[in-house]
Amino acid sequence: MADLLSVGIDIGTTTTQLIFSKIKMENTTGYFAVPRISIVDKEILYQSEVHLTPLLTETLIDSDGVREIVAQEYQKAGIVPSSVDTGAVIITGESARKENARAVMERLSAFAGEFVVSTAGPDLESVIAGKGSGAWAYSLDHHCEAVNLDIGGGTTNIVVFSEGDVIAKGCFDIGGRLIRVENGRITHISPSAKLVAESLGLSVQVGNAADAAQLSKITDRMAELLAESLGLLPKSALLDAVTTNNSTPLTYRTKPKTAVFYSGGVANRIEPLSAEPFPYGDIGALLGASVFRGTLFGETTAQQSTQTIRATVVGAGMFTTTVSGSTITCTSAQFPMKNIPVLKLTPDEQEQCFLGNVQALISRIRWFCEQSETEQLVLALPGKENPEFPEAKRLAVCLADALEQTLPKDAPLLVLIETDIAKAVGILMRSVLGSARDVVCIDCVRVEQGDYMDLGKPLFDGLVIPIVVKSLLFG
């Protein structure tokens, strides 16, 4: 048994939140088999209040303010940053587009704990929110497809799971705080809200009186855009216009009765509109009511989310860490390693390695290092299920030679194989290299080209390494 203390911090368009959770790991195989360490339980230890994200100006996050909030919450929870093993700081929605987003993140992850990752990117947010809301677990438990819409202040992040696999994801500039209202007057209109209004022939200006009936038309259109995005209505040109930059195009067609989960701040207001149209000084309640009346809610089966406004922070805290396979090779002590780019070989490129073609691999690595402006990388390959010994040896020699020649002298050689053969390959690599080079060879983790990885301190006496795979850093 081993416990990891994990932190999740989410700096969203509207709110900033934090949770601490405990991730329990255990050997799940019997005494007579090769061990397999798995995550067996997760438990939330502490949830922060929902804070408003402090801003200096429209385009600048108040970095000191955020740090202050986080420091206070650590104190309230009675947790010192050095005791945190893993987790994620994520900056989501419109906050990610602020000028100083990156600086805020870097400052925070340095403070929050040694092995806390900083991640961002609209696609990853969608997946994290979908895991936090319970949609992911539902799709696994019920062997079905499940959609999660995380409707926040600035964006709606959509993900579709099929039995736990992500089959579609996307992000749209649709949210509850795109139009803000104070004392009965409109104080802010986001560019995407303006586009929606214009498409309806409505003239909405900052300073106008906030007319609930008029604004409802806009939120109705927004709700129908969400239905369009999931294929329930024909796609309009406006949908493209409100798609978040860098978001993957959502290509999923929802079937009738599909399980749909709602999370994010607006999820709590998917109900008929109450007497007060602007309880939060924005169009959040109107948007919730529009979703409630709309095509999406009408034609699919809404499910009870386990988390709504906290879905993203819970996802970040509890679902970003995985573990490697339990038979690995690891001689390095330089953990944690953060933000290491992944070079993933194609099956053809891997075949060349199995044949011992070192030169091809060397040029591939050099090209990758130049393109990504990096000196360190995780070399990932699909692997084989049951390789012959000479094959495994040729592969190990090829990997060792190529990495030895391309990486800086003191850098550990990092290899990730998707099939369970890393201990063998790692041992054979060490045979070639001797003890001068550190080798970390892990398996049973799936990654894609362009991912980044964090590797934590080995657990269970070196049996496994905790890992976070990130799909996108700042663009």
């Binding site: 007579f32 061990p35 062997h143 038979t327 049951n386 012959e388 053969i421 890393a422 063998a424 041992i427």
Partner: protein, 288 residues
């Protein structure tokens, strides 16, 4: 079974499948339905297709079949199994029996550079009916081992057929070289590997005593089942002696292509042996 009969059976099976609607072959005209080159009905691909007609939840059945090698969703004909299921079952059973009764090919042992010795069993029938003799190595055999093997090694590894010769042929070429290399890389003295015919696990006490090995490790074929006939295990003991309790053995099981890959198992076993030498203990005494 001759080729013609097999082709007829396969054609009939395909016809039944198509009729049942379980398999829809795209755009087939009448004349195209000719016997295909013999499908291997014991292959995983063939077994993955449910023979059950009109399942209520075909996707659910497919998912269940993915989780297990058990023969579920096979349907029936009256009170009986369908022909294909019955044939596949008999073929798998024959495979399991073959694994027990076959001998390890001497050419294979030669290619591995292993010499062969034999337990106190004179033949396969004795071996199967007298487990006690399968554990016993007689004096001439022990003398031969002493003559041909490095004495007093840190680790003595050898292979024995056990109840599956197929397990040896399928896995030994993958597991032995990496195991030896990984142990030697750790600076350990590895004894001369050999092959024991008609050998059971308990033979390792005799081997360890005769050769003065600190650790003995036998790679042995496991009793075949209907799912796999190629599963191998490693039984490892520290300071083994004749009469030693079973609880002193450390075992790593389920080594085969659908279990733990043999090269990976070899790498893992090397580490377990290292730990055994460090703690001077094996079996339940070993702290993993």
């Amino acid at each position: 079974m001759n080729q013609e009969l097999i082709e007829r059976i396969v054609a009939e099976a395909i016809r039944q499948l198509e009729q049942s609607g379980c398999v829809v072959l795209p755009n087939r005209t009448e004349e195209e339905i000719v016997p295909q080159p013999c499908e291997d009905i014991v292959s995983p691909a063939c077994k993955a297709v449910p023979l059950l007609e009109n399942p209520l939840d075909p996707e659910g059945l497919a998912r269940m079949k993915k989780q297990t090698t058990a023969r579920i969703g096979v349907g029936r004909c009256g009170a009986r199994l369908k022909t294909q299921t019955a044939l596949a079952l008999r073929a798998d059973h024959a495979n399991a029996r073959d694994a027990v009764f076959a001998d390890v090919d001497p050419k294979f042992l030669e290619s591995m550079g292993l010499f062969q010795v034999q337990s106190a069993c004179k033949d396969k029938d004795t071996y199967l009916t007298r487990p006690d003799l399968g554990r016993l190595l007689e004096k001439p055999t022990l003398d031969e081992l002493k003559k041909r093997c490095v004495l007093n090694p840190d680790v003595q590894i050898y292979a024995a057929d056990g109840l599956s010769s197929k397990a040896i042929e399928a896995n030994l070429g993958r597991i032995l070289p990496i195991l030896v290399q990984a142990l030697e890389d750790k600076g350990l003295k590895v004894g001369t590997p050999f092959f024991l015919r008609y050998g059971r696990v308990g033979s390792e006490e005799y081997v360890a005593e005769a050769l003065g090995a600190k650790v003995v490790c036998v790679l042995i074929g496991e009793r075949p089942g209907l799912a796999t006939a190629e599963s191998m295990s490693a039984y490892i003991a520290y300071n083994a002696y004749v009469g030693m309790p079973e609880s002193k053995r450390t075992v790593v099981s389920n080594i085969h292509k659908n279990g733990t890959a043999a090269v990976e198992a070899g790498a893992y076993i090397a580490e377990v042996i290292d730990k055994i030498l460090e703690q001077k203990a094996s079996g339940v005494d070993l702290i993993k």
